[in-house]
C-alpha cells in the first residue's frame, strides 16, 4: 500500500518537474520561462519529498520518519516564489526584452502613473 502511494507521488512529481524543465527549455521569453519553472518545479519537488517522507513509514526504510523532509518542503515552498519574484524584478529593471507578441504590460502603466506627479512638482 505504501509502495503504491510512494510510486504515485513520484510519478506526479516527475510530470510536474518535467513540465517545468520543458517550459524552461522551450518558452520564448524569460517571464514565460519563470512562469513555467516557478510553479511546476516547486510542486514537483515537493511531491518527491513527500514521497520520500511517506516511504520512511514502510518496512524497507532504514530509519523512521524525520522532520527534515517537512523542513525541506517548507524551504522549497518559501524559497521558490521569493527567488522567482526577485529574479523577475531584476530582469525587468535590467531591461530584458519581452517577447515580440507580448500584449499587455500592466506594470509599465502603473509606473507611469506613479512617476507622473513627481515630474509636475
Amino acid at each position: 500500500m505504501i509502495v503504491v502511494i510512494v510510486s504515485l507521488l513520484l510519478l506526479i512529481g516527475l510530470v510536474f518537474t518535467f513540465a517545468g524543465s520543458l517550459g524552461l527549455l522551450r518558452l520564448p521569453d524569460i517571464f514565460c520561462r519563470m512562469h513555467a519553472t516557478g510553479k511546476s518545479s516547486t510542486l514537483g519537488v515537493s511531491s518527491i519529498v513527500l514521497a520520500s517522507f511517506v516511504f520512511s513509514f514502510s518496512s524497507g526504510a532504514a530509519s523512521g520518519p524525520s522532520i527534515k523532509e517537512l523542513l525541506t518542503i517548507v524551504f522549497v515552498f518559501l524559497g521558490g516564489p521569493v527567488g522567482a519574484h526577485m529574479i523577475a524584478r531584476a530582469a525587468y529593471r535590467s531591461q530584458v526584452p519581452f517577447h515580440a507578441r507580448t500584449i499587455v504590460n500592466e506594470w509599465k502603466t502603473i509606473e507611469e502613473e506613479i512617476t507622473e506627479p513627481q515630474r509636475n512638482c
Partner: protein, 93 residues
C-alpha cells in the same frame, strides 16, 4: 515496482537537469541563466531524494535540505547583484 519507478525517475530528472544545463549555456540573458541554475539545484534535491528511496538508506536527506537552502541563498544574492550591481547594501549608497 518501486525499483522501476525510481529508475524512471532518475532518468527523467537527469533529462530535466540536462535541459536546464542547455539553458544555462545558451540563455540569451543573465537572469535566464540564474533561473536555470535554480532549476538545476531544485531538480538535484529531487534526484538526491529519489536515490535515497532507491537505496532505502535515508542518509542523503541532510544534503537535500542543505542544497535547498543554499540554492535559495544563491538565487537571492544573484538577483540582488543583477538588480543593483551590489550584493550587500551599505548605508552610503
Amino acid at each position: 515496482m518501486i525499483t522501476v519507478v525510481t529508475s524512471i525517475a532518475i532518468f527523467v530528472l537527469t533529462c530535466c537537469i540536462l535541459m536546464a544545463a542547455y539553458r544555462v549555456i545558451a540563455g540569451p540573458s543573465q537572469p535566464d541563466r540564474v533561473i536555470a541554475l535554480d532549476v538545476i539545484a531544485i531538480n538535484m534535491v529531487g534526484l538526491i531524494l529519489v536515490l535515497d528511496i532507491k537505496s532505502g538508506q535515508r542518509v542523503y536527506i541532510d544534503a537535500a535540505l542543505v542544497i535547498a537552502l543554499l540554492s535559495f541563498l544563491g538565487t537571492v544574492s544573484l538577483a540582488k547583484y543583477l538588480a543593483g550591481g551590489t550584493v550587500i547594501d551599505r548605508g552610503d549608497r
